[in-house]
């Protein structure tokens, strides 16, 4: 059915445009940031078969660089975010070069370990990261516009997020993306066909880090504050939870998962229940045990079955 994709895209856009009217704008902005992070992680996990458990390194590095650039230069916020994302991509180059030497579980452990190294460095480099205090009062400017209100900031940030998601969509549907899927499904065959598998994986890793960096930069802007939490490994874990809950290998799933997890955490925070990890951990265990395709994956599977039943 040819109309399904455009219809879904239109519906998605409509929801994105409406979101801050239905939710607290600050929560809506938070969802936007995590959508980018989830899409970045899924680009690797879903389409290249690489589980990065260290993407907080890129999200957090970009958050710090974005914050420092914005504080130091007063540039319009999209430029500061772009600077952050570029820094994340630059950091991903050496880490990715070493990490793609391993696959599967090893890859996850290696990325996790390097991310922890970045965390320790940020923790010690207090003259830049301000240690426990974090970067405070990150300015949020765009020309003469007043973006202090989260409602208007949402609409200012939305184009950046849409661009990022569109870029991810273009990547997975390009010949390059097809090669990534081939590498995921059968690396030996891809190598035999003459594709430099490591180089493809590395490029995917850097692109993914760039997208995660866009999200991290926006996150810094959204909170106007950057803390060490952005670099902690639980942040990487949260991104993976969102992807698995939404559906691995479905870019839409990232959006659905982000909305649900951010909303859930917001609700928990309001209810005064502090053990967020207890709930997200339980959601994660149940998803992995019973619901491996995730929400979007299950829906897509259901939709694929329907016409057959009618016929």
């Amino acid at each position: 059915m040819r109309w399904v994709r455009p219809a879904l895209a239109a519906a998605g856009l409509a929801v994105a445009l409406w979101l801050p009217n239905g939710l607290y704008p600050a929560v809506a902005v938070e969802i936007l940031c995590w959508v980018l992070f989830a899409v970045a992680v899924d680009l690797l996990l879903g389409y290249t078969g690489l589980l990065s458990f260290g993407h907080a390194a890129f999200w957090g590095t970009s958050a710090y660089v974005t914050g420092l650039v914005a504080i130091g230069s007063g540039w319009p916020f999209p430029l500061a975010v772009l600077a952050g994302a570029l820094a994340a991509a630059a950091l991903a180059l050496p880490i990715g070069y070493l990490a793609v030497k391993r696959t599967g579980i090893y890859f996850a452990m290696v990325t996790l370990a390097f991310a922890q190294m970045v965390y320790y460095i940020a923790n010690e480099w207090r003259s830049v990261t301000r240690g426990e205090n974090g970067l405070q009062d990150v300015p949020r400017t765009l020309g003469g516009l007043d973006l202090s209100d989260a409602y208007w900031f949402y609409y200012a940030a939305l184009p950046l997020v849409l661009l990022g998601v569109l870029a991810a969509w273009r990547i997975v549907h390009s010949p390059f993306g097809r090669v990534l899927v081939a590498v995921r499904d059968n690396p030996a065959r891809a190598r035999a066909l003459g594709y430099p598998v490591h180089r493809y994986k590395l490029l995917a890793f850097v692109l993914s880090a760039f997208l995660a960096g866009l999200g991290g930069g926006l996150f810094a802007m959204a909170h106007r504050f950057v803390s060490l939490d952005t670099l902690h490994w639980t942040t990487s874990g949260k991104a993976v939870i969102i992807v698995v809950l939404g559906g691995i290998g479905t870019l839409w799933g990232g959006a659905v998962g982000s909305a649900l997890v951010v909303r859930l955490e917001d609700w928990l925070a309001f209810s005064g229940f502090e053990q967020v990890g207890l709930v997200t951990g339980a959601v994660f265990v149940l998803t992995v045990l019973l619901f491996r395709r995730g929400i979007w994956g299950s829906l897509a599977q259901l939709a694929a079955r329907l016409p057959k039943r009618q016929g």
Partner: protein, 293 residues
């Protein structure tokens, strides 16, 4: 010279903790192909178990050393049967993710009940003094931990190398299909081996209680160092994991002592070593290619 020996000794003691954890991780991985993300959480539970036994039942350290690993090992076997078993046919990533979720749950349960403050745990009586071995005074408890961990590593190695169970475990680790074809019931050993690996992590936790602050987060950062250690040693190799653990313990202790004005050195050395090993030998120092999945 005395200072150097003292730092070396402390390095071996922290290496002993890493070795016990890496050993459990390696045994579990070898048999089940599961990287247990909750391993650090079990270590934390071990330390808390010792604290709870003392606090609420008045049971001293020696009882904890016996009871806690057994209880955690049985708990691990239940978890294996209830959850991990269901995912063995799938991509190993799913079990990695499952144990990550379990780690979050267990850690938050402990935080919920006991808060995030560190709880002191007294050094067991009889081991609270120092031993004079000529060169300098060794804290008796640390000597005990080091000896205990080395004995545990040797015992595990002897079991793997010399007993019938060890033969099955090693065979199933390398060629599960062929082992099964020879009529050996591999499945029968999976749950006990998982329980054993978990018990080792719990044991490390009990041993840590008198030396390190007991708190809900004590395992979560350590586990990442253990991951780096097994990448260095080669996850398929029990010997490699243990050797790398002691080496990293030593390097960290020396870093702490001789770069004390720059604490970052001790913290990130393990990751720098890991990067170097990945460049030079991606399968780890003692790893074999077929274990690299």
């Amino acid at each position: 010279m005395t200072g150097f020996l003292q730092n070396t000794f402390n390095g071996l003691v922290s290496g002993a903790f890493l070795a016990l954890l890496a050993l459990g991780l390696a045994v579990i991985f070898g048999m089940l192909r599961v990287v247990n993300f909750a391993h650090g959480t079990v270590y934390m539970l071990g330390a808390f178990g010792a604290y709870v036994l003392l606090d609420s039942a008045g049971l001293p350290f020696w009882w904890a050393l016996l009871i806690v690993p057994v209880v955690l090992g049985v708990g691990g076997m239940v978890l294996e049967r209830a959850f991990i078993h269901r995912l063995t046919r799938l991509d190993p990533l799913y079990n990695f993710l499952l144990t990550f979720g379990l780690a979050l749950i267990l850690q938050d349960l402990v935080k919920w009940r006991y808060g995030v403050q560190s709880t002191p745990y007294a050094t067991p009586s009889g081991l609270d003094g120092t031993l004079d071995l000529g060169l300098f005074d060794f804290p008796a408890y640390r000597v005990f931990v080091l000896g205990f961990a080395v004995a545990a590593c040797v015992a595990v190695w002897l079991v793997l190398a010399r007993t019938r169970v060890g033969v099955v475990v090693r065979a199933a680790t390398e060629r599960p299909d062929l082992t099964r074809a020879l009529g050996i019931d591999v499945g029968r050993w999976i749950t006990p081996v998982f329980g054993f690996g978990v018990a080792l992590a719990g044991l490390a936790g009990v041993l840590a209680a008198p030396m390190r602050a007991v708190n809900p987060l004590m395992g979560s950062d350590l586990i990442i160092v253990v991951f780096a250690v097994v990448v260095i040693g080669g996850l398929g190799s029990v010997f490699g994991s243990v050797a790398a653990a002691f080496a990293i313990g030593l390097v960290q202790a020396w870093g702490e002592a001789y770069a004390s004005h720059w604490p970052i050195v001790a913290q990130i050395t393990v990751f720098v070593v890991m990067a170097a090993v990945l460049l030079w030998r991606p399968t780890g120092l003692f790893g074999r290619e077929e274990m690299a999945a």
